[in-house]
């Protein structure tokens, strides 16, 4: 494991002198960051200001093309599309954020615990993890929607729980990596317990993996939220959300394709942004570890 290959060492020492690794993935991070930043900005701005009230319906104004009053036109209920697009950023981001936090809160301790007790309970923990992983997040969301009815909250919880086995898996392998390092042994030899290991050694060293995982998880959650809303199991009306806009717009696709294209583009840009960001961060934190969920 620790056998250094000479050429590798020579190369790495060369890379060390020029801070190449620091800026690895820089372009991706920048592009992704700009896209994500735009979406976040949209959501933040919409909290305090939108051109029109995004939920205000107006029968006479329905299905209008772009005008001074409605920059992007209106939808089937006469609502301002531009305002809905802005405000529609809130739900995906909220769902993404909460789902990612839930998946981390469950997955990280679980993964670390499974790694630390690798031989005994850990094996059973990972078996359990496999079982949970057999419930794809979206399926879990559909089940929960069947139980409690579709809502933003059930979507967030289901997507969070559904993503947690993936997190646990990654965290476990990262933790095993850390635990196999001699500094972890040294800490144990110094009489430090599992909690100290987890907090002082494991967490800081898997930080990179976690950030990447969270970023990718965000993209997946945004996608899943859109799908759920599209199926009518996500955010209920009147809260604007891109997935809902897509669902409401699809019946008008032949009449007014922009009703579908705008929210579709918004979703695509968000996912693209998070994915680029994730790829860039992955390059930066660990050039060897490629996409492996």
């Amino acid at each position: 494991m620790s056998q250094l290959r000479d050429a590798q060492a020579e190369l790495e020492s060369a890379e060390q002198t020029q801070p190449r690794r620091r800026c690895a993935g820089g372009g991706l991070i920048l592009t992704g960051g700009i896209l994500v930043g735009t979406v976040v900005l949209m959501a933040l701005v919409s909290l305090v200001w939108t051109p029109q009230d995004p939920t205000a319906t107006s029968a006479v104004d329905r299905l209008q093309g772009p005008s001074a009053e409605h920059r992007l036109g209106t939808d089937g209920l006469g609502r301002d599309i531009a305002s809905m697009l802005l405000a529609g950023a809130q739900i995906p981001l909220l769902v993404g954020l909460v789902a990612v936090v839930i998946s981390l809160v469950i997955g990280v301790p679980f993964g670390i615990a499974a790694a630390i007790t690798d031989r005994g309970a850990g094996i059973w923990m990972m078996r359990w993890n496999d079982i949970v992983q057999a419930f794809p997040p979206l399926l879990l969301a559909i089940i929960l929607a069947a139980v409690w009815g579709g809502s933003t909250a059930t979507a967030m919880v289901a997507l969070g729980i559904g993503a947690s086995p993936g997190v646990a898996r990654v965290v476990r392998s990262g933790t095993l990596q850390v635990l196999s390092q001699e500094y972890a042994l040294a800490a144990r030899a110094a009489g430090r317990g599992p909690l100290h290991l987890a907090l002082r050694h494991v967490l800081p060293n898997i930080r990179g993996i976690l950030i990447v995982q969270a970023t990718v998880g965000f993209a997946i959650a945004v996608l899943a939220e859109a799908a759920l809303s599209f199926l009518g199991l996500g955010t209920p009306p009147p809260t604007p959300s891109w997935g809902r806009m897509l669902q409401e717009g699809q019946s008008l696709l032949q009449v007014e394709p922009l009703l579908v294209l705008w929210p579709g583009a918004a979703i695509a840009i968000t996912i693209l942004g998070f994915n680029l960001l994730g790829d860039g961060l992955r390059d930066r934190f660990d050039p060897r570890m490629e996409v492996r969920r």
Partner: protein, 598 residues
């Protein structure tokens, strides 16, 4: 100059003005190198010296992001640098072959070994079918792989490291190349295996009349196989000449230091190891992972180690009898190094079995320790040597409470430590500390040095912590301000000093060292050994030193136990044991050590 020159006149490979660099940094500075037909040349350098890049450039296998200029000419092929991929492909494997360092990864894990060998023959000779099969089996036989027919059908993971390296050698020699390039081919192998592989390689090259370019950091290895050497440092060749000349009369100070360090020569006056630390201060910027800066030239370190003028014999312990057992089978393991007085460490019948029954059967059991018993008295420097897999690391982990024994007893200062809960072992954590092998892995890259060193410390105030850390850093030869830095800012040797500082912060009674200098370049190795030597004395430590390297153990310890297959086979005072090995295994180990002065 003698017949070495006669060889080079019939030039086979000629490298001149070779420069390799990334877009911003030059790694190899104008290397010139000639190899004659049938000549065996060693290219020696420490990690980061550019020797592997030189080799890859000759093969045309440099990573794409590197720029290369100069000239590489192979007799009969002309200029190879910049030659088309097609032309290079026809040269590779037929006229020039290569053996890599890491036998574990050099073979395609998904392809049967026979097919991998057959491929290179088919590729260049166009042989097919039964003749090919026969040729493969012959090759396997010629590299002395046991049971060639079975090996041919095996996958790489089913073979040991030594066997794999033989396979790689068989592949490289399959087409009787004019030139064999070997990149640290034995570094990953145990000494006994290394010796066999080296001999095999020598035989093969001689039989085929091939030339050899052998890259290594290990001067002893070179001595056994090459007739001419080049010393490379920081991308330049600093010295070259016939082996005898260079080794017996080195001109360049770096070469001198390197030779002294690798032989673990001691200074006649101080009894301390010779180091190359004082030599060649022109060093480059200090490096990070992968580079152990020679001469401790990091910005935060101008002086090398605490050069106290403490003289004295290397071993401070009282002499004792040898108690070696000749027969291979032990009904009950004898207690080695037994003492009448209360030992500081008493190990009895320790066994460790790995493996578990799988969920649905199929577990495999491995006996790592098969009943080990010995004593260590206070103040002793007890060395344990053995090859990889002999159980020495497992033993050390059990002694430090990092692993659990399957059965047996370990008493430290008369207190049993096996089967105890972590809470009951607090005292042990302070009394016993350990230094690991890997200077990269033993320090948490995300922690500041202060936190690293103070990790074993409990209940100290911030000020106290800080002052103890700083004091210790100074003692291991690092500046106080190092406490605020992070591990990646230090070279390998410096990191090992930090690891030692961490081990000493609780003022332990026993210091365990697990291959503590094995990953270091020879030049740094000597310094760290000197440091350990000083500290053991200053702190009145009892030391358990585990290593595969007999030379190092011999120097660092007064009493040595030899382990093989989970048992101690021989134990005794270092001088006696090395001079008159009783056990055949010990003897074979000693024989296998490559020696500089051959």
């Amino acid at each position: 100059m003698n017949d070495a020159d006669a060889h080079s006149s019939a030039g086979l490979l000629e490298i001149s003005g070779l420069e390799i660099g990334t877009s911003s940094t030059r790694l190899v500075h104008g290397v010139d190198l000639q190899i004659g037909r049938g000549e065996r040349v060693g290219l020696i350098g420490e990690s980061g010296s550019g020797k592997s890049l030189t080799l890859l450039a000759a093969m045309g296998l440099l990573p794409e992001n590197l720029k290369v200029s100069g000239s590489v000419r192979l007799d009969g092929e002309g200029e190879l640098l910049g030659a088309s991929e097609r032309r290079m492909a026809s040269v590779r494997g037929s006229r020039m072959s290569m053996v890599f360092q890491e036998p574990m990864t050099a073979l395609n894990p998904l392809m049967r070994v026979g097919e991998q060998i057959a491929e290179i023959i088919r590729l260049h000779q166009g042989v097919k079918g039964q003749p090919l099969q026969t040729q493969v089996l012959e090759l396997l036989d010629s590299v002395k792989v046991p049971d060639p027919a079975r090996a041919e059908r095996a996958y790489p993971h089913e073979l040991s490291g030594g066997q794999r390296q033989r396979i790689v050698l068989a592949m490289a020699m399959a087409n009787q190349p004019d030139l064999l390039l070997a990149d640290e081919p034995t570094t990953a192998l145990d000494v006994t295996v290394q010796k066999q592989v080296l001999e095999l390689m020598g035989d093969q090259v001689r039989q085929a009349g091939s030339s050899l370019l052998f890259i290594t950091h290990d001067l002893g290895v070179v001595a056994s196989i090459c007739d001419r050497v080049l010393i490379m440092r920081h991308g330049r060749i600093v010295e070259s000449g016939p082996l005898q000349t260079v080794f017996s009369d080195p001109q360049h100070p770096y070469t001198r230091g390197l030779l002294a360090a690798s032989a673990l020569e001691t200074d006649q006056q101080t009894g301390r190891l010779m180091t190359v630390g004082a030599v060649g201060q022109e060093g480059r910027q200090q490096g990070g992972p992968g580079q152990s800066g020679l001469g401790q030239t990091g910005p935060q370190q101008e002086q090398t180690g605490p050069q106290q003028e403490q003289a004295g014999p290397a071993s401070g312990a009282a002499p004792h009898e040898v108690s070696s057992e000749e027969p291979q089978t032990f009904d009950q393991a004898a207690i080695f190094n037994q003492t009448d007085a209360e030992p500081l460490l008493a190990v009895r019948e320790v066994r460790r079995t790995y493996g578990r029954a799988g969920l649905f059967g199929g577990g495999r059991q491995v006996q790592a320790l098969r009943g080990v018993s010995f004593d260590v008295r206070a103040g002793q420097r007890f060395g344990i040597v053995g090859e990889s897999g002999c159980g020495k690391s497992t033993l050390l982990r059990i002694l430090t409470g990092l692993d659990e024994a399957t059965s047996g007893s370990v008493e430290v200062s008369g207190q049993e430590i096996l089967g105890k809960k972590e809470r009951q072992l607090r005292w042990l954590r302070e009394a016993v500390q350990i230094v690991f092998q890997d200077p990269m892995g033993s320090l948490d890259p995300r922690m500041r040095i202060e936190d690293v060193v103070a990790e074993p410390l409990r209940g100290a105030s911030r000020e106290e912590r800080r002052s103890r850390v700083e004091a210790l850093l100074e003692e291991v030869g690092l500046p106080r301000r190092a406490a605020d830095r992070c591990p990646h800012e230090f070279s390998g040797g410096q990191r090992q000093r930090i690891a030692i500082a961490r081990a000493l912060i609780t003022r332990p009674k026993i210091l365990m060292a697990d291959e503590a200098v094995s990953a270091l370049d020879v030049s740094v190795r000597a310094q760290v050994l000197n440091l350990l030597d000083d500290l053991v004395r200053d702190y009145d430590l009892t030391m358990l030193f585990v290593s595969h390297d007999l030379q190092v153990v011999r120097h660092a310890c007064d009493t040595v136990a030899v382990m093989n297959a989970g048992q101690i086979v021989e134990c005794g005072p270092a001088d006696v044991l090395f001079a008159q090995p009783q056990h055949s295994y010990t003897a074979s180990l000693l024989e296998s050590i490559p020696r500089v002065a051959g």
